[in-house]
Subunit: 435 residues, 2 copies
């Protein structure tokens, strides 16, 4: 720890990971923080890689590169460990080891900060060192800093985000080109915007980790993975964009955490219909956006590149320099003092978009309307589309008035049992922006 | 100073000003920071008003209210002085006195931070106390915090902002309703969105103070009032919105600071034509938005309520709690180490919109085009509008290709001397968002 706070001294950085983000961090340190007049004099003194023979996107002395994380952490020249490996283990083990060895840690790892963040923050506090993680959510967008420092007098009412660039890229393409999910996913994979195993992104896990991290900060409440509602984008079809557009909406993968003393705290990740009138509808491509509503400040909007080596390195370096300047450790700060109860998704209340393949015969709508009515759900509008005369099918698209999730799930079962219903193709929630 | 950093102790707040913002701060302190389990235990221990008999929007013990700022500053119970008086003097005097007395200061005063900010920050450093001023720019939007802390590894390329709610309210109304400036100004005054003397807002002074404060932080460079180009919105007419719209633009009062080693640093406040395609065009009403472009992070966007007692109090309280938590003093932090040269507006390079009342006769456009050509300015497009056959007048609206400001000013003189030109009604700059 002695090495970390310096004035005319060098702070040694140990990098766990020297891929594209690690190389960008190393470049920033090398190019920007060797000047004598800078109060922040930094130096990369050790780096861990999986394979020392692989070429790197940064000119770094090969003698400081190794494959042994523990030796980097133990290196007495290392004052700040920068963890860029990702995943829960072994990252958790290495971060814990570093904190216990009196090293400050900066991480870009949303998964470990979601699943084990409170343990790690407690370990940092016990060892009187800092653990900062701005880069774990929203890439280069300052969002953790504002929640930790700038908005601390507020009771946060909602955090709503488009926080996964891969899915936003895919959904934007689907919206603009009428393309199908699988085609756009292949294209995103070719462009390097999606992994060969795309599950972390398209099934919503990445967004879930991030909203959990933001919710902990905003609400002083642990929001474990298994209490967050999660639904990915694989079931969103080109048709849904077409029909949603006719109704005045686009479709985005939203991550939301809302809390009040009355309702408790609900966190959810799912594709949502968003009215073209609200700004979230215009966040396109790989952009990320986070909307935070505080009771004093009102609605705030943060937007920028949510991923990429340089934006991520910007956030990592911001945290490194924060430590060098002596920023206080600070788990959280908003005006809430008591953790919230976790609310159930069953109590979520919103409008629903339902797409059903029905037999094209009289009385179908009446049957569906009756089933919805039995569950206390009333209909706002109906489209009948793509009538297939040969096979006697049609698409029935229903927009409901606001209803309770539990009631809707009951209605869904009953709709599926109707003779005239061939299948309920999709059920999507409409994001409620009512004041 | 001993009173300011506490754990189980109360930090005393002295309020210089108990108007609508001061009352909102006092309410926040009273409602939110008396809890025993909060690490931040705050108390308003003294407040200064002009008139002690006036009713207040907060329930505060009248025995702590006085008309004497010096006694509040000297009060040994006061650890943090919150300055909400505005203006250069006597605010500068009071802040200096407080800092020299070892008190931390939080201010919402853009004018004093623009004109005397570097002196005040130096005084704070000399006395080992903190001076924070998040509320001075953008109301509740965290923008100074991100520049001080989160973006410190970046070389900032541009800061572009809609940063004055009053003028944005007026221009938005003019755009939506085709109304004239004076009518909308009167309406804004009735609604309380504009002062009875509107000059600080509509002539661009408020925006100028704010962009100067942001430029100091972003570029480590003093940008005094007299080197910032300033032009208000009084000369923007309903007609200009009509013609701009035909060309694909709206009109906003922008405050911009851009810098590079090649060009130096140019700060400017003026109405600008903004393409409907860029997000700034959609920032409407009293909203504020700040776009920051950093070389690592890329373009970031911050948006929210730029004024109002509660948003301003949110920013003030964020700074107060920052001090209580022990945040480091930090004048600036971005990766620039040398101040920039100040550039001249004469070298600014952009497209121009020119509206001219001409005699409706052959050869007029040729004459104007010749004069522009002589100044090395070529024409992108031309509209002839509102031909008044009776009087033989017409509006000639010219959009140029990008040109140098000095050349344009030369051309303007020559255009005014043409026989066929009755008057050059307006010259507006087009904001250049080229990548």
């Amino acid at each position: 720890m002695a090495a970390a706070r310096t004035d005319n001294q060098v702070t040694g950085i140990g990098l766990l990971g020297l891929g594209i983000v690690g190389s960008a961090v190393a470049r920033a340190v090398i190019e920007r923080h060797r000047t004598e007049d800078s109060s922040a004099s930094l130096k990369v003194v050790a780096a861990v890689v999986r394979n020392t023979s692989r070429p790197r996107a940064v000119d770094i002395d090969s003698s400081i590169v190794s494959t042994d994380p523990k030796s980097v952490i133990a290196n007495p020249e290392v004052g700040i460990v920068v963890e860029l490996m990702g995943g829960e283990e072994p990252a958790f083990d290495y971060i814990t080891t570093a904190l216990k060895a009196g090293k400050h840690v900066v991480t870009a790892n949303k998964e470990v900060m979601c699943k084990r963040g409170s343990e790690l923050l407690a370990t940092a506090a016990e060892n009187n060192v800092k653990l900062f993680y701005e880069a774990s959510v929203g890439g280069g967008i300052p969002i953790i800093g504002p929640l930790m420092n700038d908005l601390t007098a507020n009771r946060i009412q909602s955090v709503r985000a488009i926080i996964n660039g891969t899915t936003n890229f895919i959904l934007t393409k689907m919206a603009n080109e009428g393309a199908d999910f699988n085609d756009v996913l292949s294209e995103a994979q070719e462009l390097g915007y999606a992994e060969s195993d795309p599950s972390a992104d398209v099934d919503g896990y990445d967004a879930l980790y991030k909203i959990s991290v933001l919710a902990r900060l905003a609400y002083h409440t642990e929001v474990p993975v298994d209490v967050i509602y999660r639904e990915g984008i694989r079931e969103v079809h080109a048709k849904d964009f077409r029909y949603a557009k006719e109704l005045g909406f686009t479709i985005k993968l939203l991550a939301v955490a809302q809390a009040s003393n009355e309702t408790g705290l609900l966190a959810r990740v799912h594709p949502a219909l968003i009215s073209f009138d609200v700004p979230m509808a215009s966040v396109n491509g790989v952009l990320n956006a986070v909307e935070v509503e505080g009771d004093m400040v009102g609605p705030l909007w943060f937007q920028g590149p949510g991923a990429g080596p340089e934006p991520t390195a910007s956030a990592v370096m911001g945290d490194v320099l924060r430590i060098v300047k002596g920023a206080p450790s600070n788990g959280s700060g908003t005006a809430t003092t008591q953790p919230f109860e976790i609310a159930s998704m069953s109590d979520h209340f919103c409008q629903y978009y339902i797409r059903i393949t029905v037999s094209d015969q009289a009385g179908v709508l009446a049957n569906v309307a009756r089933v919805l009515g039995d569950a206390d759900i009333s209909i706002n509008s109906v489209l009948q589309k793509d009538t297939d005369i040969e096979n006697g099918h049609a698409d029935l698209v229903i927009m409901t008035h606001p209803a309770r999730e539990a009631n809707m799930q009951k209605a869904v079962s009953s709709i599926n049992e109707l003779d005239s219903v061939l299948r309920l193709d999709n059920l999507l929630r409409v994001e409620n922006y009512a004041e």
